[in-house]
């Protein structure tokens, strides 16, 4: 191990020194810009990024990226920066922190959506613009009449049938898709993966429900480890199911037979799926405390107290990390 003591060299100049007159490779405007941003670092996340509260996630990202262009130390690679190096590092660190906090907050409370959640879960490539469906329908009918293309048309019909069955009989739908693939449904490439995804999703959520049931049974029998196992399988099968993630994290924590990091992933998932669910926040916080991640735990406990300022458990845990 190479280890050397640098003797704690202090980069910061004494307070009386005027940083604007420091001899570094930066022009005066840039120095002013850096000092101005540095003076804002104690303020709220929006201000730090130069935004007004209520901006969209997209705006947060772009503000972060634009600010990074100015304040990331790599933009001044190989330059003599003096005290400004530490300033830039501080500013950039705070920018990333603000970006992360706001991004996560906006993710928890996303703007209202126009489409239904089940459509949202299918991947993008399958989605056709409105009106395109009718035209495609017509074209497929025309193609079906052409003898050379009839196998492709049949494949198309199979995919359509699969789409109808995807929700009620996902297994059947997957079978139909396999048949369509065997026929070489060339023009169906765009749609088949989306149908397949939906069918798989449906199947997963059915199996997920089964696992939830066996998890509940294990709880009744008082077997924490088995419950944790079943719930986490349920959450793996259907990662969008908030109760599965929450129960899995909670029972993994209780059983204590598996790595905490695993429980943390589950708890994190529970929190992102249902940010206003106080017990999820608490479980995540508790796991973080046990993993020695005090600052993360603190963040989630504060979120929990926002939901219910009088929650005794959250208060008690918060005392542990302070």
């Amino acid at each position: 191990m190479g280890l050397s003591s640098s003797g704690g060299a202090k980069l910061l100049p004494s307070g009386t020194h005027d940083p604007l007159s420091e001899a570094v490779d930066l022009d005066l405007d840039r120095k002013r810009e850096i000092l101005a941003r540095e003076s804002q670092l104690a303020r709220d996340d929006w201000t730090v990024l130069g935004l007004k509260p209520g901006a969209t996630a997209e705006a947060v990202k772009l503000a972060y990226f634009e600010a990074s262009r100015i304040f990331h130390p790599d933009r001044y690679y190989g330059k003599n920066l003096g005290s400004y190096r530490a300033r830039l590092e501080r500013i950039f660190h705070r920018l990333s922190e603000a970006h992360e906090a706001l991004t996560e907050a906006l993710r928890r409370a996303p703007p209202p959506r126009t489409t239904s959640p089940s459509r949202q879960a299918t991947p993008g490539p399958g989605g056709n613009p409105p009106g395109a469906d009718a035209r495609a329908e017509e074209r497929r009918a025309r193609l079906a009449r052409h003898p050379y293309l009839s196998s492709k048309a049949r494949a198309g019909a199979l995919v359509e049938e699969a789409q109808r069955q995807a929700r009620s009989a996902p297994e059947k739908a997957l079978h139909l898709l396999d048949q369509a693939r065997a026929l070489g449904g060339g023009q169906q490439k765009g749609r088949a993966p989306a149908v397949e995804a939906e069918a798989k999703q449906q199947m997963a959520s059915k199996r997920s429900e089964d696992e939830m049931q066996s998890g509940n049974a294990a709880v009744r029998e008082g077997d924490a480890a088995a419950a944790a196992h079943a719930y986490s399988r349920a959450s793996e099968l259907d990662p969008h199911r908030p109760d599965a993630a929450y129960e899995a994290a909670r029972w993994a924590l209780k059983a204590g037979d598996r790595p905490l990091a695993e429980a943390r992933v589950l708890a994190q998932r529970a929190v992102s799926l249902r940010p206003d669910h106080l017990p999820s926040q608490l479980v995540l916080a508790e796991i973080c405390i046990r993993m020695g991640m005090g600052s993360v735990a603190r963040r989630h406990l504060e979120a929990a107290l926002k939901l219910d300022p009088r929650n005794a458990e959250a208060k008690a845990l918060l005392r542990q990390v302070r």
Binding site: G2, K61, P239, G292
Partner: protein
């Protein structure tokens, strides 16, 4: 800025390496001096003691397996006693020995060579290729490593650069480099995943891209999963069949093993295009009894190959899945999946990625060259203030400290954007404790000893107090170079201590210094010998010129006393000069070149005067 020194980007791969540069705003690969874009990462020493690198080394690998080092990347920066090195020793035909402090060395001829030196030989070759192509000296580079390399492996790679005479501006993660090259010049906005399966490692990264800023969201992988594992499955099958048929264990035959390795790699590559390939290795094994040699002939279908390697392919997508989960990114959110590394040409890998992420991976990047192009882009971004490209990178592994009970307390979790810092409070764990040892760890395990120990330091002189009463504030900082510094402060007394933590890449500072000095000596020698060579050829041509003048001078002045004397002297000079040309003495050579030149000037003068009179 045309006069600025060029900065190159190097992809130092397990099997092949590539060098690239940005010129006129566009990145492009610099072909090596034999015209190839890929240089095999192979270093060999011949029985005559000559060192060979790249294609030349690869060509003789079969006949010289013990002294041909490949896949050095699997060993660099690792400990000799580690599991990975133990496994590597079983499968690699060259000898791996332990250095003085549990570092890894390879036996090349008489010398046990350190891994940074082996990699340095490859880097130097690429540096020379770049210099030949650009017509100027190159001394700065950005070098890529797998994202999952720890600090020790990164440091060792940096050391290799220094030994090769390159100032490594930045060690860059391979998948990040690939994403840079992929996104460069396109108006990509959104999240992209890079799936990089190379000769020895798998790396997966998720990046968020907008307006030229590349923000790494998460990165992960496996440093021991790559093309060679696929090759080994083919070799195992061939060895087993051969043993069944002929009762001979080919694994004990180093030369046969090397031929099998080549054939397996070739078969794998062919199966990316064809459904079936033949493996033909005539005279593979000669039995000791003097009976005729045994040939190996086999047919491998793609289906069989897929079956042999199915679990490896499954593992690659599982790892990719894990990285996405850690990043809290759902596959639906990804805009693109970029495939990088020669191994992503294997159809089963493409199918698995397509099935798993339910979309077609993007094509249009050259999987073997894209990483070097990205390295060149990052080099350019660092050197050119006007560059559009900015990379926001993360720490690939968590940083923590050892706490009571032998646990690891993570302070900076992996995938945190750098530069970053964090401060935590620690308490004494015993009554009257006056010193505290802070052990800085890198890794994901909850148990302290299962992580890499980056360094340790002791804060002493704490005041006497019951346990838990003394509070110590520890600040971790990672700057944008990835260098970790830690400072600890006793809250009450203000007692403070700080260190810069650098993992060792296996070479101690003294060892590195010695290597660099030897390097300087041998470079001086090389320079002298090239000067000797120049003088020698100057001498030979000067002597020939003088000799050519002699007949005419004799014709014009041969009868005079002066003429006879001058001719005799000239012949003497030529003879002595030619004798000196056999030796290595640079001063003597220079003197004789001067004398020849004087004689030539004299003769030319004489010829002009006498010739004009006639």
């Amino acid at each position: 800025m045309a006069d600025q020194e060029p900065v190159i980007g190097i992809d130092l791969g397990t099997t092949n390496s590539v060098v690239a540069i940005v010129q006129g705003g566009q990145p492009h690969v610099i072909p090596n001096r034999t015209g190839q874009n890929l240089t095999p990462s192979i270093v060999a020493v011949t029985s005559a003691g000559k060192r060979l690198v790249g294609q030349l080394a690869k060509r003789q690998a079969i006949t010289n397996p013990e002294n041909t080092v490949y896949a050095a990347k699997r060993l660099i920066g690792r400990k000799f006693s580690s599991d990975q090195v133990r496994r590597a020793r079983e499968s690699l035909p060259y000898r791996i020995v332990s250095g003085e402090h549990d570092d890894v060395r390879v036996q090349m001829g008489e010398k046990a060579v350190s891994l940074p030196e082996v990699s340095a030989a490859v880097l130097r070759e690429l540096k020379l290729d770049a210099e030949a192509a650009l017509g100027r000296t190159v001394s700065k580079a950005v070098v890529t490593v797998p994202a999952y390399f720890n600090d020790g492996q990164r440091q060792a790679t940096k050391d290799a650069g220094r030994i090769a005479g390159l100032d490594v501006l930045r060690i860059l993660n391979e998948p990040t480099a690939a994403a840079l090259a992929y996104g460069f010049g396109k108006q990509v906005t959104g999240k992209i995943a890079v799936f990089d399966l190379g000769g020895g490692t798998l790396d997966v990264s998720v990046l968020e891209v907008a307006r030229g800023v590349f923000d790494v969201v998460a990165t992960g992988g496996d440093t021991y999963l790559g093309g060679e594992d696929f090759d080994n499955r083919i070799i195992e099958m061939l060895v087993m069949n051969f043993a069944k048929e002929h009762g001979v264990d080919l694994r004990k035959e180093r030369m046969a093993l090397q031929r099998l390795k080549d054939a397996a790699e070739r078969a794998k590559i062919e199966l990316s295009e064809l459904n079936e390939t033949n493996i033909n290795l005539p005279f593979l094994y000669t039995p000791p009894g003097g009976t005729s040699a045994i040939h190996l002939q086999a047919t491998l279908t793609r289906a069989r190959f897929d079956q042999l390697t199915q679990d490896l392919v499954e593992r690659t997508v599982e790892i990719a899945d894990k990285v996405l989960r850690e990043a809290d990114v759902h596959p639906d959110e990804l805009r693109e999946i970029v495939l990088v590394g020669g191994m992503t040409r294997v159809p089963a890998v493409q199918t698995a990625v397509r099935r798993h992420f339910q979309r077609d991976p993007s094509k249009g990047v050259h999987p073997e060259e894209v990483v070097a192009l990205g390295a060149a882009l990052q080099a350019d971004a660092l050197m050119q203030p006007s560059s559009q490209v900015l990379l926001l990178d993360v720490t690939p592994q968590s940083l923590g400290v050892a706490i009571a009970g032998g646990y690891n307390r993570v302070l900076i979790p992996k995938n945190t954007t750098v530069p970053t810092s964090v401060t935590e409070l620690f308490h004494t764990s015993r009554d009257g404790q006056t010193t505290v040892k802070i052990m800085v760890l890198q890794g994901e395990s909850e148990l302290a000893h299962q992580n890499e120990l980056l360094g340790e330091f002791i804060l002493s002189g704490l005041r006497l107090a019951p346990r838990g009463d003394v509070e110590i504030e520890v600040t971790f900082e990672i700057n944008s170079e990835g260098i970790v510094s830690v400072s600890a402060r006793d809250k009450e007394t203000g007692l403070e201590q700080s260190i810069t933590v650098t993992a060792s890449g296996g070479l101690t500072p003294e060892e590195l210094k010695n290597i660099l000095e030897q390097q300087a000596d041998s470079m001086l020698e090389a320079r002298i010998s090239s000067e000797v060579e120049q003088k020698r050829s100057a001498l030979t041509s000067a002597a020939a010129e003088v000799a050519a003048l002699i007949p005419r001078v004799r014709q014009l002045t041969g009868s005079s006393e002066f003429g006879r004397e001058a001719l005799r002297r000239a012949e003497e000079v030529i003879a002595s000069a030619r004798a000196a040309a056999e030796g290595e003495d640079l001063t003597a050579l220079t003197d004789w070149v001067d004398q020849l030149e004087r004689t030539r000037v004299l003769f030319v003068g004489v010829l002009e005067r006498l010739g004009a009179r006639q």
